[in-house]
């Protein structure tokens, strides 16, 4: 009887999901309600989790509830701590969810809501969640080893070094693009900048509170910090309305770039408890609360989507937000939310050291990624509730807007300057035109949703406050990633330099700390600066570079997972990781090739450089140099990943042809001491 009920329930869920997809796919010209997007996503997640993740944990990895996990065997009360699955789910989710699943879908909305949503939903079930789960399972059976260590041990030392270099390069591009989003959101915005500037003294106060005054009282300090943050948010409104204070907090893009680079350096060299950790706690609390509030607000309002299913830019490839057709660019624009290589670092970092039981990996690895995809779908909804004209006016630089004007006009995606001025005044900004980067557009979308809820319950719309709250929310956790990324990048560089001169490898030796911090900050600062000066807005060149790099890290992770599956004598299931791996190779190599060699100057670095040759523009020389740097960076990413792939394929062939023994470095079985159901 239960079996029949189960079949009926899953048949209904599948049919509902199919109906939602059909409604989305057939909508042409008419407005679609966001509910269909949510239903399609949730039904697909449910089916994927119930059937596919179960297949992976039972057939491929054979997770065993009687086997002791590293958290149990190596428990030390610090990093190895057995943790209940729901608590660890929250912890893992907080570590993997950042700005990526919010910004990527907003940028991909230039193709319409359908391509991005399909990739978010299908990509996560067959790719992203599979990557997170398989790497978690691999690390779990290896005492929580990192991706680099696993690549070194399971493939070869060269593969380990290649993986480490790939991570370092990607970190630099990642920080640059995230910093660009913050700079674009805060330039000429005294309200936003005042609020974010206040987070520095607030973080210092929290750091002193948690470490010296009331040691370990994170909750108290965060509560006080949150209260002060809200005061700063309200104070920002006052600052923006008064000419004198407003002038003090109004900065140009290059000036903000200098400030953020200096901030990144200090955050890297100062003790973690001073700036990095308090900000991390504050942003984690804020992230969880805001994402929860956004989900509830969307469910209450179920807003209609004003963006069409597909815009002309999907096929034309001349989008003003970023150039290129939907294949391959939608698949690299949305990384976090569909598949993100960066997650492999978390899945082989703290999470495997905290799993209480092996089967819990399914909920945390696969389920956590589904949750992140859901956040991406919410961001897509927030962006697509905007009028397309508002969306394109906000996300496009004036130069790109001019180039795309004929297509925008013929599609009816135009708004009058008066409409934009009224919208800017409503949210307390001077202008919203050309605020590229995704964050301001998302903030306006979130403002409309939150205002709708406050209005529905009889309150004021509070649009300006909601807008700056959304900007603060995004900027706060982007800055946390910049802090942490610069620091982790510094550690990695120190480790690499330590092979040349052991003293440089000492993470507490200050000359090494300062030198490696300067090198990392200079690396991402350079890319950030070129993005700020780019007449097309920077996002056009940097976001695809970041997407390519992030997806290439996913290739590294999936190659490691495939090697381990083959060596476990389960080669018949290797398609589980090989299929997303093959897809990502096709996507990233095509995108990389187009970015390097496309004849379209808006797309290809070489073509863009050639188009500037002989130009009288005083910036032309610098722009040509930047194009060549971007070309070399793409070439380096591509070469590093192809090298690792070649090493992996050689290993697979050797093992499958039995010329090499299939030896895996799993820790031996130890029975758990937990009782069943404990």
């Amino acid at each position: 009887m239960r079996r029949i009920a189960s079949i009926v329930i899953w048949a209904v869920i599948s049919a509902l999901g199919a109906l939602a997809f059909a409604t989305l796919a057939w909508s042409r010209g008419e407005t679609v309600n966001a509910a269909w997007l949510l239903i399609a996503a949730v039904c697909t997640y449910a089916v994927g989790y119930r059937f596919y993740s179960k297949f992976i944990v039972t057939r491929v990895f054979a997770l065993d509830p009687t086997r002791a996990t590293p958290a149990e065997r190596l428990e030390n009360g610090r990093d190895f701590v057995p943790t209940g699955k729901w608590v660890l789910f929250g912890h893992h989710f907080a570590a993997i969810a950042g700005a990526g699943p919010l910004v990527g879908p907003v940028l991909a909305a230039q193709f319409g809501f359908l391509p991005g949503t399909l990739w978010l939903v299908i990509g996560v079930v067959l790719g992203g969640a599979v990557q997170d789960l398989t790497i978690l399972c691999c690390s779990l059976r290896r005492n929580g080893k990192s991706l680099g260590q696993m690549a070194k041990e399971e493939i070869s030392p060269a593969a380990g070094l290649t993986a480490m270099l790939a991570v370092l390069f990607i970190m630099i591009i990642l920080i640059a693009v995230l910093a660009l989003i913050v700079v674009n959101a805060l330039k000429a915005s005294p309200w936003g900048l005042f609020t974010i500037a206040c987070t520095i003294p607030i973080a210092l106060l929290m750091g002193w509170w948690m470490r010296s005054w009331r040691p370990g009282r994170v909750g108290e300090a965060s509560l006080a910090g949150g209260f002060l943050l809200l005061l700063a948010l309200v104070g920002g409104g006052w600052v923006s309305r008064h000419a004198g204070p407003a002038a003090l907090f109004t900065f140009s893009g290059p000036a903000l770039t200098a400030l953020i680079v200096a901030y990144g350096f200090f955050a890297s060299v100062l003790p973690v408890w001073m700036l990095l950790l308090p900000r991390d706690y504050l942003s984690t609390f804020l992230k969880i609360a805001t994402i929860f509030a956004l989900a509830v607000a969307i469910l209450i309002l179920l807003p209609p989507l004003r963006m069409p299913a597909m815009t002309p830019f999907a096929a034309l490839g001349e989008g003003p937000v970023f150039a290129g057709k939907f294949f391959p660019f939608v698949f690299i624009t949305i990384a976090c939310g569909a598949i993100s290589g960066f997650h492999a670092l978390v899945s082989s970092g703290t999470t495997p050291k905290m799993l209480r039981r092996e089967p819990d990996a399914r909920l945390i690895g696969y389920g956590g990624m589904l949750m992140e995809s859901f956040v991406g779908v919410m961001a897509m909804i927030a962006a697509c509730t905007l009028h397309p004209g508002v969306y394109f006016a906000m996300n496009t630089s004036p130069a790109a807007l001019q180039q795309a004007a004929p297509v925008l006009q013929s599609a009816g995606y135009v708004v009058s300057p008066d409409t934009m001025a009224a919208l800017a005044a409503e949210v307390g900004e001077k202008t919203l035109i050309g605020r590229a980067g995704g964050a301001p557009a998302l903030a306006v979308g979130m403002t409309q949703i939150f205002s709708g809820v406050t209005h529905a319950f009889g309150g004021h719309t509070l649009a300006a406050l909601w807008y700056h709250f959304a900007i603060m929310f995004e900027a706060l956790f982007i800055l946390t990633t910049i802090d942490a990324g610069t620091r982790v990048g510094r550690f990695m560089l120190q480790e690499l330099l330590g092979h040349v001169w052991p003293r440089m490898g000492q993470t507490s030796w200050y000359p090494s700390v300062i030198l490696s911090s300067v090198a990392i900050v200079a690396g991402w600062g350079y890319f950030l600066y070129q993005g700020i000066l780019d007449p097309l807005g920077g996002i056009n060149s940097l976001w695809p570079l970041f997407g390519i790099a992030n997806q290439m890290l996913a290739i590294v992770a999936l190659a490691v997972a495939t090697t381990i599956i083959i060596k476990m004598n389960r080669a018949r299931y290797a398609w589980v990781t090989l299929a997303p791996l093959a897809w990502l190779v096709a996507v990233t190599m095509t995108a990389g090739f187009e970015k390097m060699f496309s004849a379209d100057p808006r797309l290809g670095f070489l073509a863009h450089a050639a188009s500037l040759a002989g130009s009288t523009d005083p910036q032309a020389g610098r722009l040509i140099f930047n194009d060549h740097v971007n070309l070399v960076a793409t070439l380096v990413f591509t070469s590093v990943v192809l090298l690792l792939l070649a090493i992996s394929v050689k290993e697979w062939v050797l093992v499958l042809s039995r010329r090499k023994a299939a030896m895996v470095s799993e820790v031996p079985y130890v029975a758990t001491s937990y009782a069943a159901g404990d």
Binding site: G219, L345, A484
Partner: protein, 57 residues
């Protein structure tokens, strides 16, 4: 404080990765050795370790 609120706050602390000295003491008790770190030293070590971890984009 009611147990349910205490439990909720404990869960929240674990989710955000706050230090838990009591968990360390419990571990020492189970392992049968005295704690090597006092609360301040434990918190300092915990914060240093947490600061070196990657956050995703």
């Amino acid at each position: 404080m009611p147990r349910v609120i205490e439990r909720f706050l404990w869960i929240l602390r674990r989710i955000v990765g706050a230090p838990d000295y009591q968990a360390y003491l419990d571990h020492c008790r189970r392992a049968g050795h005295p704690p090597h770190l006092d609360e301040k030293a434990y918190i300092r070590e915990f914060f240093d370790a947490k600061g070196g971890r990657t956050r995703c984009c």
